[in-house]
């Protein structure tokens, strides 16, 4: 083979090795782990997972969180993206500030919100100063599931809305401004332009953002763990607990497979529901 024919393979080689070693191999191992018990093929790990007290709770909590956080994030990111697009000066600076949370790790973000929301945190201090509460209030205990849930939602919104924003802004920049101008000339007000022009043309970006964000949301763990420990069980948290607490990596692998299956299903739903016919794009 001549040098030039070999070159493409050499170029994709490192990435391929990386993916095989750190992605495909663990995936195969995880599948093997999940579907074997005492060295034989079995569904025992899944049976144990489903039979666990926290299983139903963690499924319910994870879905509740995803179904609350994702729509809120989409609306917020859309509103933020439209506002950033409108800015004539300082656009890059505002965008920079808005995406700062992307730089923080999940756990750090969780700890930041913990320092705000814990019983002697900033939030209670402010409430105390305003005379709204006397003494520390516990917002994050298992006895206050609603405020615990709200806290987790807030932290997730703060931490991960920016990734949706970035994708949407990239998409908005691909839409020539003449479409909105033409719509404006022909009588569309701002809301109509958004609904009839911007939103449909942004659909491919919305789809990408939703897939990425939803897959990541089903994997939510560190923020929840930092704020609640196991007071608010979620799927990946359970996998962690089985792996480290119970030293049972078979059940942990079963949880991992379950999360993957749910993510794949969500992706398929998005691809179907938000399908864009190629001829309807600019």
């Amino acid at each position: 083979m001549s040098r030039s024919r070999l070159l493409p393979y050499l170029l994709i080689g490192p990435a391929t090795v990386f993916l095989l070693a750190l992605f495909v191999a663990p995936l195969v191992q995880t599948i093997a782990l999940a579907f074997t018990h005492d060295g034989a093929a079995s569904l025992a790990n899944f049976a144990k997972m489903v039979g666990d007290l926290n299983f139903g709770l963690s499924i319910r909590n994870t879905f509740l969180l995803v179904l609350t956080v994702i729509p809120l994030q989409l609306c917020l990111a859309l509103a933020m993206a439209m506002m950033v697009q409108k800015l004539e000066k300082g656009r890059d600076l505002v965008l920079w500030i808005l995406i700062i949370p992307l730089g923080a790790s999940d756990l750090a973000a969780g700890l930041v919100w913990l320092s705000i929301l814990q019983d002697r945190g900033y939030f209670n201090t402010v409430l105390n100063m305003l005379g709204l509460v006397d003494g520390p209030v516990n917002w994050l205990s298992y006895e206050t599931p609603v405020s615990l849930f709200v806290g987790v939602v807030l932290a997730e919104l703060w931490r991960a809305t920016a990734i949706v924003l970035v994708i949407l802004i990239a998409g908005l920049q691909l839409i020539p401004k003449e479409y909105a101008e033409a719509a404006e000339i022909f009588g569309a007000d701002a809301w109509t332009r958004f609904r009839r022009i911007t939103l449909p043309l942004l659909k491919p970006s919305i789809q990408s953002a939703l897939i990425l964000r939803t897959v990541l949301a089903f994997e939510v763990f560190a923020v929840v763990y930092a704020l609640s420990g196991r007071n608010f069980p979620v799927l990946v948290g359970e996998a962690y607990a089985w792996q480290h607490g119970n030293q049972n990596n078979g059940v942990a692998a079963a949880y991992a497979i379950l999360v993957m299956a749910i993510s794949l299903a969500a992706t398929v739903v998005y691809i179907k529901a938000l399908a864009t016919r190629p001829e309807t794009q600019p």
């Binding site: 020539p176 719509a183 404006e184 001829e279 600019p282």
Partner: protein
């Protein structure tokens, strides 16, 4: 009715003045072309009329109504964009219907108007298709149909033909002219293509560096340019500009002489390539450098006493590079220009006709 009054419009981008106190009257139903090189401010002016851009100073009135501060949708106009701006996610039918839907027209009215407009532009076969499946020319037809469907009193067009290939452009140009004439809309048409402006418009406003150099009927513009810029921009090949010394009320160069209303010194003679007869002796000495047979004419490029000149000779003229010819321009068609101001002698300053 919907005449347009542009009253001392000024537009600055920072320190740069894109439009300088520009005024223009467009009569109801008139077709005006804004012609000029890129950067002359013609598109900015159009966008200010549309309301897509805000003027720094001055007023715009449409049909006697001051629209200076109104958003585009309240100005009662339609527009065709250079890159069509046909909505990709709507069928051709919905594109053409867009303006009517925004006005809350009934489905029956929408159908009638869409059928009328698409009939005018011959796009009925494509109504159910998406724009991505159409050629550039067909998309431009959709854009024009969308504009005509709302039966606008004022129609703005921003270089609508410039993205089409030459042949299609010629075809669309004549078609546009008849369709727009029938619509009766007051039309402002921006272009950098002088043949387009001349061919389409009732009057052409030639713009240069944020001002209107001259506004007149196409033929008058061609024959009596008010400034050297207009003479050089309108017409292909551009007008020849030959500097000649003046003494005692006559301009002389070589064996050529003509009375001229200028004091002693220099004057520039603006001469169209086709207003020149070739003779054996007694005229301007012309050294031929290049001969280009263009079919209808033989275009000669050469020098008159070192000054560049082009002559449109008869196609069967026997001329070769290196020949020295004698040129006799038609005296009554020469435009005499003051070399200092660049204005033609006898044209009033301000030049608006």
């Amino acid at each position: 009715m919907a005449g347009i009054t542009i009253d001392r419009i000024e537009k600055r981008f920072g320190a740069v003045a894109a439009l300088r106190e520009l005024s223009l009257e467009v009569a109801d139903g008139e077709f005006i072309a804004l012609l000029g090189p890129s950067g002359c401010g013609k598109t900015t002016l159009l966008r200010i009329i549309a309301g897509l851009e805000q003027q720094t100073a001055g007023r715009i009135r449409i049909g006697g109504r001051d629209v200076s501060a109104l958003p585009p949708r309240e100005r009662g106009l339609a527009m065709v964009f250079q890159n069509y701006a046909v909505f990709p996610h709507m069928t051709v039918y919905e594109n053409v219907a867009f303006g009517l839907r925004m006005k809350g027209a009934s489905d029956a009215d929408v159908k009638t108007q869409v059928e009328r407009a698409s009939g005018l532009l011959h796009i009925e076969p494509y109504l159910e298709r998406y724009p991505a499946k159409l050629s550039g020319g067909q998309r431009q037809r959709v854009a024009v149909a969308r504009a005509l469907a709302v039966q606008p009193a004022v129609l703005l067009m921003d270089e609508p033909l410039s993205n089409l290939d030459a042949l299609l452009r010629l075809e669309m140009r004549s078609e546009l002219k008849s369709v727009l004439a029938a619509s009766g809309a007051t039309t402002v048409y921006v272009t950098h293509d002088q043949t387009e402006a001349m061919g389409l418009a009732d009057r052409v406003a030639v713009m240069h560096e944020g001002v209107i150099e001259q506004i007149d009927r196409p033929q008058a513009l061609y024959e009596r340019p008010a400034t050297r810029f207009v003479g050089g921009f309108v017409g292909s090949p551009p007008m020849n500009f030959i500097d000649m010394p003046v003494s005692g009320g006559a301009a002389r160069l070589g064996a050529f002489s003509s009375p001229v209303a200028a004091g002693d010194g220099l004057v520039t003679a603006g001469i169209r390539a086709e207003d020149i007869a070739i003779s054996d002796s007694g005229g301007l000495p012309f050294d031929v450098v290049v001969c280009e047979p263009l079919g209808a004419t033989l275009l000669l490029t050469g020098r008159i006493e070192g000054q560049l000149a082009r002559v449109a000779a008869r196609p069967d003229a026997r001329v070769r590079p290196g020949d020295r010819l004698s040129l006799s321009p038609a005296l009554d068609r020469i435009v005499w220009i003051d070399p200092q101001s660049g204005r033609s002698l006898g044209a009033s300053p301000g030049a608006a006709a």
